[in-house]
Amino acid sequence: MKIVKIIAWIALVAFVVIQFFPVDYNQSETVPQTDFMLVNNVPATVEQSLQVSCYDCHSNNTDYPWYSKVQPSSWYLEHHIKEGKAELNFNEWGNLSDRRKNSKLRSIINQIEDGEMPLDSYTLIHRDAIFSEANKTAVIDYMNKLKDSLE
């Protein structure tokens, strides 16, 4: 019993201690001119889908949930957002060359078609980020159209 108590104390102290470690929050007030929505003429429904399902990890501004204030979940989120932005940042779309856009669009289409994006770990809590069949088709059709216009 004593051991259990000690472990519980240790865990509690550790939990408190890690709360003091700083986190880089991914937040920005301004939307740059290079944003996907500003560069392209995106239909409202597609824009809505992308904002809700993709922009949290693929832009410079995350709409943080309450648990992002609590460690260690903030580290987990920080890591995911960093990775997501490295792969694709919708805010910087206009900076990409046609070749890069083409490659990115290809990946976007494939990942959504295969159901790899949005991530399961993300939709577990963000239920509204799950694409409905209609939204999924609309997004993929739009991305395909955009891709064809580049080729």
């Binding site: 104390w9 102290v13 470690f21 890069r100 290809r106």
Partner: protein, 198 residues
């Protein structure tokens, strides 16, 4: 006594947590990788000196060689080999130096290399279906690169109209004979020579 032990234990744990965190930050920088990159680059530079003129072509040629090896792994349906060769290709691409080309060629080349590197890296960590998807775009990048750098090899641009839901897919090969990297054993000889480079 017990309280003292407990306090010490707790402090020790806090230290462990802090150390773990700082280690995590340290790992992010990973100084080892860029270093091995430099070594690679030096080796390449040696070769370049020996080749005297046409120094850039030597590097483009090394990239093409890696690409052809990767293609062969896909022809053989060898997922793990393709992963390995994808990473090798990514390294060669990163060591490419476009500085001796004109400004507009440099822009184009750097763009191609950046794109190709991303595809090569993804090939390094994907299943074979994804590897082939990336290989299609990678092949386009390689074709565009050769158009600028040129090559001393004779290369065949080949094409299979059935790949990617009949949208088709092209690739480069050193052999005229068709060996399909998109289907492998399933349809080894599907395709035709579209163009001969050199």
């Amino acid at each position: 006594m017990k309280t003292v032990k407990r306090t010490i234990g707790t402090m020790a744990l806090a230290t462990v947590v802090m150390v773990t965190v700082s280690c995590k930050d340290g790992n992010k920088n990973e100084p080892a990788k860029p270093m091995s990159n430099e070594i690679h680059q030096e080796k390449m530079d040696d070769k370049e000196d020996m080749a005297m003129d046409n120094s850039q072509d030597a590097k483009a040629e090394a990239i093409l060689k890696d690409y052809f090896n990767l293609k062969d792994a896909l022809v053989n349906d060898d997922n793990s080999k393709a992963k390995e060769l994808g990473n090798t290709l990514a390294q060669s691409l990163k060591s490419f130096d476009a500085s001796s080309y004109s400004d507009s060629e440099q822009n184009e080349l750097n763009d191609i290399i950046e794109d190709a590197t991303e595809h090569a890296e993804h090939i390094g960590e994907s299943d074979i279906a994804h590897q082939r998807e990336h290989f299609k775009t990678l092949s386009k990048d390689m074709t565009d690169m050769v158009a600028i750098t040129g090559t001393s090899m004779t290369i065949y641009e080949q094409y299979c109209p059935m790949y990617d839901n009949n949208k088709g897919g092209a690739w480069l090969s050193m052999n005229e004979e068709i060996r399909n990297p998109y289907f492998g054993a399933q349809m080894l000889k599907c395709g035709k020579v579209q163009r001969e480079i050199n």
